[in-house]
Symmetry: C2
């Protein structure tokens, strides 16, 4: 199929061709950049929502309930499940497969898993590109769901314009054990399984913790109680996540970060491909390990060799 | 002080000048690269040990006990505490200060905290540079201790030639709640607080979990029981961490990764400084947010402009 027709079909809602494009983007195929370039003008400003929290807090259930809620509003919904797979946590994959079946009959819900752990460019830049494609494909709500709460996942959910952090009123997922860096990115705190004992205590602990936040933060994020298995609180959560302009970050700030990432990715692709191909890299590393080559001088020389003369001679900008 | 004298003093064991060099390296000061280049030939192959585990598992206590054990062997010990500080986890800083006092009288133990969270180059590359300086300064054992178990910390402890992962026989730090990616990097599992109930159960769970590991792994890592507060098991742990060649990675593999990181850092420094200074970046981002500029085409153009013609015209290496 020719390229313009491919783009036309994707933006028209063809899910099979969208899947092909997403694979091309995720696997950094040869047409990745042209696809993104062509899809960008078709973006319609989808509402992107990140859902994160420790394992067992009910992320999948909340995401499924939110998806059902948005479907009732006749919105097309995409779910992007982020799973930096570990050989020790194989369970989630099976879970995903089961979920896909439950939405199978509904053409308005599209589920995509990403597990590009260890890729050179990182998971978050790859996910950002996938979001461009999903938005251009006409999904009005994109739910980003993480499996864990590691740094990679934190980076990804921060791509969303609103982030919900799930907690449970049970030991093991209370505020004391929250990882550094995760509390700060939440726009909304969700106490899921709020029919369990300890919900009041968790909410007070959470409020106490939030009152310690630096004063730079504009206001305390809302706390919502849900019982996702019964749909309780989901409508309120959906409304909060989509109506208020929760994200402090302006779109221009987002694109500043992305531009730096994009240039970095392109530079490193070229470097790896042309200046430091496997054989040269391996030889240099062996020389360094044997102390016959100084890595710091070598990296300096290589960098000078890579950059254009006009750039190197350019005066430093202020 | 002139540069060669500075280097001479650092490699001769002057801790005050070492501290100045480490700050220059961590803060990416103007002499960072020349310092590292000059220190590299003085590296003496220090034994680097990573100690990680969930908060509360006793990492500081184990690291302190290990340090004391190596001091008895008359080895000079450096402790590098990695703390990607969060406003919500201020406690660890205080803890560090208290520890420093306990070692204060001993010139053979040097403690340094790193908290360069959010730096452009990432925490792990910065820590790798600090390790070069500590090694060149003559420390024979370098203990890398993380505060949490996030991706940034995992990346850092992987710089060590041996990694110990701490667990406790108490809820909240058992194998089920271990984060993806953390089990795989451990060369030794340490059940600390092994005088508590549940130690046998934890060890069997751990063995069961480890037997699920992919067959590519050479052999199951050892499990050591310690009660660090009493020094129990610490000598055995120290011996295991320093004698066996635990790390599968060869030094050349390490330098392959580091070279890529070093070139990336240098390229991005130049790019940010000369090609995409704040004002130009901000203007481009605003154009993109307003949909007047396609970020993917812009990044392509910029990359072509940055790289030397000779590189771009070079044929693709195979």
């Amino acid at each position: 199929m020719d390229f313009p027709l491919w783009i036309e079909r994707i933006t028209g809602g063809d899910l099979r061709l969208l899947a092909r494009a997403l694979s091309e983007i995720e696997n950094r195929g040869p047409r990745k950049h042209s696809l993104l370039e062509a899809l960008f003008p078709h973006m319609r400003k989808a509402c992107t929502i990140g859902v994160t929290g420790a394992p067992g807090t009910g992320k999948s259930t909340v995401v499924d309930a939110l998806a059902a809620c948005f479907r009732k509003q006749d919105k097309r919904v995409a779910i992007l499940a982020i799973d930096p797979t570990s050989p020790f946590t194989g369970g989630s994959i099976l879970g995903d497969r089961i979920r896909m079946q439950s939405h199978e009959a509904d053409d308005g819900v599209y589920i995509r898993s990403m597990a590009t752990r260890g890729s050179l460019g990182g998971l978050a830049p790859a996910a950002a590109d996938v979001l461009v494609a999903l938005d251009a494909a006409g999904f009005e709500v994109i739910l980003i769901e993480t499996v864990g709460v590691g740094q990679a996942e934190v980076d990804v959910v921060q791509l969303a314009s609103a982030v919900a952090l799930l907690l449970n009123p049970s030991s093991g997922s209370d505020v004391q054990t929250m990882k550094a860096g995760i509390m700060e990115i939440a726009d909304i705190f969700v106490i899921n399984k709020a029919d369990l004992a300890g919900t009041d205590r968790l909410e007070s602990e959470l409020r106490a913790m939030l009152s310690l936040a630096p004063e730079t933060q504009e206001k305390e994020p809302p706390i919502v109680r849900t019982v996702a298995t019964q749909g309780t609180g989901i409508e309120e959560l959906a409304a909060l996540l989509t109506t208020a302009p929760l994200a402090v970050e302006r779109p221009a700030d987002y694109w500043e970060r992305r531009l730096i990432e994009m240039v970095r990715e392109r530079l490193m692709d070229t470097v790896v491909e042309k200046a430091l191909p496997a054989e040269r890299l391996s030889e240099a590393a062996q020389q360094i390990a044997a102390r016959r080559l100084n890595p710091f001088s070598f990296a300096d020389e290589l960098t000078r060799d890579l950059l254009s003369d006009s750039l190197l001679n350019r005066p430093k900008a202020d």
